[in-house]
């Protein structure tokens, strides 16, 4: 069973702005019944101010798809088209108090419908999506979409791409290609590790630090007969314990400083590291 927030449940059980708009100024349609979710977004736009005066939706999909659609309409109403275009899929998810990671594709679908509707209003070709190279046949996902979602959401693994776009979640044949695309994106741009900010929960921070320590720091220390353990995280203070040859080592301070530099480089400048 999915862990949905109360906000998701509320927007699923009592969705806002459902239905069609008579004579809409813009319509955006994404997804398909075969893929398991589809969203049709209708907008009414005030010509003078460029503001969205009304938004309605129809959605075929699971609870989080319906809730995301409802959230989307709430988020864009009253915004100008340019402002609305800045609404990211993260914002849709945040509006709902978060979505299970496997369900992030629902928020991406919301964002796509919005883009499609605005493109429709501006007289641009509706199916921008069709242009890119088709990567995932099972879920009809193009290279362009994978790149876009990966960059916007800092996605670095195939599993994450699957959570956000569904690509790779069917027969799995496209996984190698997704991996190649990811390598390509993040080779040009060093993987932007999610920066430790207030938005990460403490648990997420711990997981992130743990990962950096495991992959980047521990192997080096262990090679020298030492070891390190993550003890706690308090805001941006990271408390570690040095073990083995490291503990009591005269160079402990230097080691800690080195670890701090490494963590700062990978997870944000505001981090300080202390030995227990």
């Amino acid at each position: 069973m999915w862990e949905y927030t109360d906000k998701v449940k509320e927007h699923f059980l009592h969705p806002k702005n459902i239905g069609e708009i008579e004579n809409p100024d813009a319509v955006g349609e994404v997804g398909s019944i075969v893929c398991g979710d589809a969203l049709k977004l209708y907008l009414k736009v005030d010509e003078k101010s460029g503001k969205i005066t009304d938004a309605k939706f129809q959605t075929f999909g699971c609870a989080s798809a319906i809730a995301s659609s409802s959230a989307l309409t709430e988020l864009v109403k009253g915004k100008t088209l340019d402002e609305a275009l800045k609404v990211t899929n993260q914002e849709i998810a945040e509006f709902l108090g978060g979505l299970p990671k496997e369900k992030m594709h629902c928020s991406v679908m919301g964002r796509e419908a919005l883009e499609a509707a605005i493109a429709n209003y501006r007289g641009q070709p509706p199916e921008v999506k069709e242009e890119g190279r088709l990567i995932c046949k099972c879920f009809d996902v193009t290279e362009e979409k994978i790149r876009k979602v990966a960059i916007e959401n800092h996605l670095t693994t195939v599993d994450e791409i699957t959570d956000y776009t569904k690509a790779g979640g069917g027969c799995g044949e496209c996984k190698a290609e997704i991996e190649a695309i990811l390598r390509d994106i993040w080779a040009l741009k060093k993987p932007e590790r999610p920066v430790v900010s207030k938005k990460l929960t403490n648990l997420q921070k711990i997981a992130l630090m743990q990962e950096i320590i495991e992959t980047e720091i521990r192997p080096g220390l262990q090679a020298d007969g030492g070891d390190i353990e993550l003890i706690d995280i308090d805001g941006n203070r990271v408390i570690v314990a040095l073990r083995g040859m490291c503990s009591g080592c005269l160079m402990a301070d230097v080691t800690i400083k080195g670890i701090q530099d490494k963590l700062r480089e990978m997870a944000g400048e505001e981090i300080t590291v202390e030995a227990q």
Binding site: W2, K9, F12, L13, P15, I18, G19, E20, E29, I33, V34, C35, G36, D37, A38, L39, K40, Q58, T59, F60, G61, C62, A63, A65, I66, F139, T162, K166, G169, G170
Partner: protein, 389 residues
């Protein structure tokens, strides 16, 4: 809010009589049946009593029953034992609609160099005996086909399949996890070599199952260690649960024929009412050969998870073959193998009843379901188009 539990193919409540029967073995009588002292050793007799009860439900001999930890272990053990008994044969046959306990084990064997054939099923989810005959060859080590399908409830012609395989001397295993306790099974007449069952599908607790191995059939243990179960399944017996399974089998056997009629009555009432009150709904599965407690209905233009969560608000528990509920992004492999179009799989709902369900509960679901479907269809872009048409 009272729970209306219509998800008994997923798991069942433990029968109160079963709990009473097992509790002393959790509280006071915690001994190890292998011990020399009476305190532990006396449990041996209780385990043998449970074995006879399980055998009794199946028309088997007690010596043909091996206790395991679950249906999956029984399935894995059966397949492993089969391929080890005939090491020179490298071909296994199963169907595309099996439970993952069989399907994924066959895939595992396939990675280990075995050739696996996955038989197709008809649109009704039924297996064609001729297809099996065609797939057999000199190299076939074992055929594993389920007795009844967990999702569609479809019952395979196990007797017919068994006869045919017996003639050819090919080992036959059936995963009867969904059938045992729901329909009569008589292994005196039924030509199968191995049969799996699971406790928690028939009102015993989770964590106990059994494997029937026909007397005289070759057997290789899967879990290796102590001498328990005559060396056929090592590991200290899960005493209380084994005793519980025995009791649950006895209870199931006592009332089976009345229960079949009772459940079929409830199921048919539910099914007919929903088909009548919800347009664009259809049954998945062979209505002529189906478990009496199961119905799988597709509601077009709506998505299963959404239906389930709306029902959840009323305390109604059911399940769906939709992608969103499967934990992966792929919808039910069973319904896909039956050629049910994706649009209908996404809106499939399974209700599975037990003897503890009542007509009042069925009436409640009959009342709640149509407005839920209607509302979700109004939300759906496809539903709207349909309504306009």
């Amino acid at each position: 809010m009272k729970t209306i539990y219509f998800d008994n193919n997923a798991t069942t409540n433990i029968a109160p009589e079963v709990i009473d029967e097992m509790l002393p073995y959790l509280r006071e009588l915690y001994g190890n049946p292998s011990s020399m002292h009476t305190f532990g050793g006396q449990l041996h007799r209780k385990i043998e009593e449970a074995r006879s009860r399980v055998a009794g439900l199946l028309g088997a001999g007690p010596e043909e029953i091996i206790f395991t930890s679950c249906g999956t272990e029984s399935d894995n053990t059966a397949l492993m034992s089969a391929v080890e008994s005939v090491p020179h044969k490298k071909h296994i046959i199963t169907s595309r609609v099996e439970h993952p306990a069989v399907l994924n084990f066959c895939k595992y064997l396939a990675r280990k160099g075995y050739r696996a054939t996955y038989l197709p099923v008809s649109k009704q989810g039924q297996l064609n005996v001729d297809e099996l005959v065609k797939a057999l060859d000199e190299d076939t080590a074992v055929v594993s086909l389920m007795y009844a399908n967990n999702e569609s409830g479809v019952i395979f012609p196990v007797a017919e399949l068994g006869e045919m395989l017996k003639e050819r001397g090919i080992l036959f295993h059936t995963d009867a996890v969904q059938a045992v306790g729901k329909i009569p099974i008589d292994l005196k007449k039924l030509p199968v070599d191995m049969l799996s069952l699971s406790g928690h599908k028939l009102h015993a607790p989770k964590g106990v199952g059994a494997l029937y191995v026909r007397k005289g059939a070759r057997f290789h243990p899967y879990i290796i260690g102590g001498h328990q179960e005559h060396g056929r399944r090592a590991g200290t017996e899960n005493v209380a649960s084994v005793i519980a399974l025995g009791k649950a089998c006895e209870l199931a056997g006592d009332n089976l024929s009345q229960e079949v009629i009772y459940l079929k009555g409830l199921r048919d009432k539910l099914e007919n009412a929903l088909l009548k009150s919800c347009p664009d709904a259809r049954i998945n599965g062979d209505v002529n050969s189906r478990l009496p407690n199961t119905t799988n209905i597709s509601f077009e233009y709506v998505e299963g998870e959404a239906i389930l969560l709306r029902l959840n608000e009323f305390g109604i528990c059911a399940s769906s073959g939709s992608a969103c509920t499967s934990g992966s992004l792929e919808p039910s492999h069973v319904l896909r193998a039956m050629g049910v179009p994706a649009t209908l799989i996404h809106g499939s709902i399974r209700f599975s009843l037990s003897r503890y369900n009542t007509e009042a509960e069925v009436d409640k679901v009959i009342e709640i379901m149509p407005p839920v479907i209607k509302e979700l269809r109004q939300l759906s872009p496809f539903g709207r188009e349909r309504i306009k048409k």
